[in-house]
Point group: C2
Chain length 392, copies 2
């Protein structure tokens, strides 16, 4: 067991109509001039954006707005947001949407409060010294960015996708109304559930210092998400299932499910980042398409964890050998992915990757992790390529 820091200062306000509290919360955390940052048209069409503006206006809180955050959010828009914040003397960011809008807002927050190029932080060149305070109205349960310290931005030039983590960017508040997620397309809902599972699984499959209570919480969370993802595949309007998944999304990535271990594996995410940079696929679907190939490749190096996962999470009855039990667990999760219409390889993801593309992704991935990464198994460029090939 390792020591750890656990820091989740975000005030979560969860339940129906909680978005009505947005102005009160902005004020509570000191905001006097707000940039509302959002993505595409869905928050406009649903009327949410209009209502949010109305709440701010009614409270006399001035705001400017910037839309256009896309999945795998782009650096260009971040620069635009930084300019806008400086010009308009914005002192509070309000991200309205899913992980894209929130991640993009975090990057804008760094850029508006630090000198120099904000990409430096994502390019491992230096560390941010500040970030604008940020509040969130979440509309997609998936990335956990609403409580996390991390954000992922894609630089258009070379399609380089990189993450940066700092407690400075943890949102001050997160408004979570499960009803706001009900209009999501089924594929996005399933992709979000997959991302949530993976945030805990990345922390679960490690060879370093696991903690019994962390495992118990992680396993309970994983079982709950799977159960409710299946309910949502049948009935997208089930409020309780929406709420279970939404809250699990935050807990899955706020640090709780990793306390005491070595920090997690994270290679499925890193492998998917290259996929997402190159093909612009839904992040969760990309993770589902890669996970089985990753799991089979690393399984023998982390066997006790795969056996535990099979039995405690997937409900597998132990087979005669640990290896068989572990394999049944991997297959059971792939079966689950299929049952919510998630892909289990690149073909099913709709990606026809050439050998050159696989080589390029492995090369970029290796650079992105400074050569090698992974706790379940330390992976180098040749391992990454082998996993991409197996996933084809």
């Amino acid at each position: 067991m390792f020591g750890f820091n656990y820091y989740t200062p975000t005030k979560v306000v969860f339940g129906k109509k909680t978005e009505e509290k947005v102005a009160e919360l902005v004020r509570e955390f000191g905001g006097t001039k707000v940039l509302i940052h959002y993505g595409g048209g869905s928050v406009i069409r649903s009327g949410l954006l209009g209502r949010v503006k109305g709440y701010l206006e009614a409270a006399g809180i001035p705001y400017v707005e910037l839309g256009g955050a896309v999945p795998n959010p782009r650096l260009g828009l971040v620069y635009e947001g930084i300019e806008l914040c400086r010009r308009e003397k914005v002192d509070f960011l309000l991200g309205v949407g899913g992980g894209s809008a929130i991640d993009s807002a975090k990057a804008i927050g760094y850029g508006a409060t630090n000198e120099g190029d904000v990409w430096d932080f994502y390019d491992y060149k230096r560390k941010a010294k500040a970030c604008l305070p940020l509040g969130v109205i979440l509309t997609i349960a998936a990335t956990g960015s609403e409580m996390s310290d991390s954000s992922v931005i894609t630089k258009e030039e070379g399609l380089v996708k990189r993450g940066y983590s700092s407690d400075l960017s943890r949102p001050r508040f997160a408004i979570m109304d499960p009803e706001l997620t009900m209009t999501l397309p089924d594929y996005q809902t399933a992709s979000g559930c997959t991302d949530i599972l993976m945030h805990t699984m990345e922390r679960y499959f490690t060879n370093g210092g696991n903690m019994e209570i962390t495992d118990a919480l992680a396993e309970g969370l994983l079982r709950t998400v799977m159960k409710n993802a299946l309910i949502l595949a049948r009935d997208p309007l089930d409020y309780d299932a929406r709420a279970e998944v939404m809250w699990a999304g935050s807990l899955s990535h706020n640090g709780l499910t990793g306390c005491g271990n070595d920090g997690g594996d994270w290679m499925t995410h890193k492998l998917e980042h290259e996929l997402g940079g190159l093909y612009d696929v839904a992040h969760g679907a990309g993770l589902a398409a890669l996970w089985g190939s990753w799991a089979r490749y690393v399984m023998k190096n982390c066997l006790p964890r795969f056996v535990r996962f099979a039995v405690n999470v997937m409900g597998v009855t132990p087979e005669s050998t640990d290896e068989e039990t572990a394999l049944r667990g991997i297959e059971a999760l792939e079966d689950f992915f299929r049952s919510i219409h998630m892909p289990t390889n690149l073909r099913e993801l709709g990606v026809k990757a050439s050998e050159e593309d696989l080589v390029l992704m492995a090369k970029k991935c290796a650079i992105g992790v400074n050569g090698a990464k992974g706790s379940a198994m330390l992976l180098r460029e040749e391992d990454m390529l082998a996993i991409y090939r197996a996933a084809r």
Copy 2:
């Protein structure tokens, strides 16, 4: 399922020798003049207090100190602390010890920053508008006060024990080094484990709006604490078991295990508060002595939860009726209490309560909850008396 707020801003710094970071953390959270508040001689004898002073001195952070916080901490000492803070212009409180020192520090924090009598807050007369920032070095895993919003103070006159809750008092940081808890007497360790279990169970046994993920986390936490309490009963120096219990103590009472429900039952705690006010027993032991009688009294009114508890937490094989299954679960927890040498009634607790005492406690308890309280079952004065009698 109900909406909820979840707010745990405390930065947890967990692991061996983390107390060495105290000066850095005081500075991070803006402290320039510290009151170190602690309890009895154990933090002096162990050398911890001396080391803490050394760290502050080395960092050039001036401090004053106030010892003497006792279990069921007293209002008189709180007044003394408030005076000291005002006189010495203290701007940061450092609680070193267990729940008593931390609760007492929270009350000092309210008193030093609000006009009028600090007891008003505990007497439901008004709400605090501020609290001095507070950091904690935890030496007993039990009350969860290191991350919670609550504190319990006893007024000497009439031995009135009351709790007050406000986010203002949530500690800014909590240093948790499991090694610091290794010198606790076995009885205190077991009593602490019981308190931890009860913080989650008070939230678990409700008739209002439960949430699947909250239940899954709660059940995982309860199983983990029981398993590790048994390990500590055999080997008090087992670091991993100390760590599991210590972290569970914080999670059990920071709000996590109650998200989505109606706020919890809390009647075992209220009944124990009167016991603790009158007899000065160890809080956890008092809870253990009362719980079985409470559970049998309310069981039929909250049967599905008692059945779930029996099966998912205590591992009971379902009996032919739900009532039998529920009873087996209650008995199994009482067996567990006995196995860690906790009492299951007042006699075993060492309290010879006269009928007059029981009547007095029920009367004070009813006043303390404004007439009636409880979610598993709403209890009035006559119910409280019946439970006290059954526990005799």
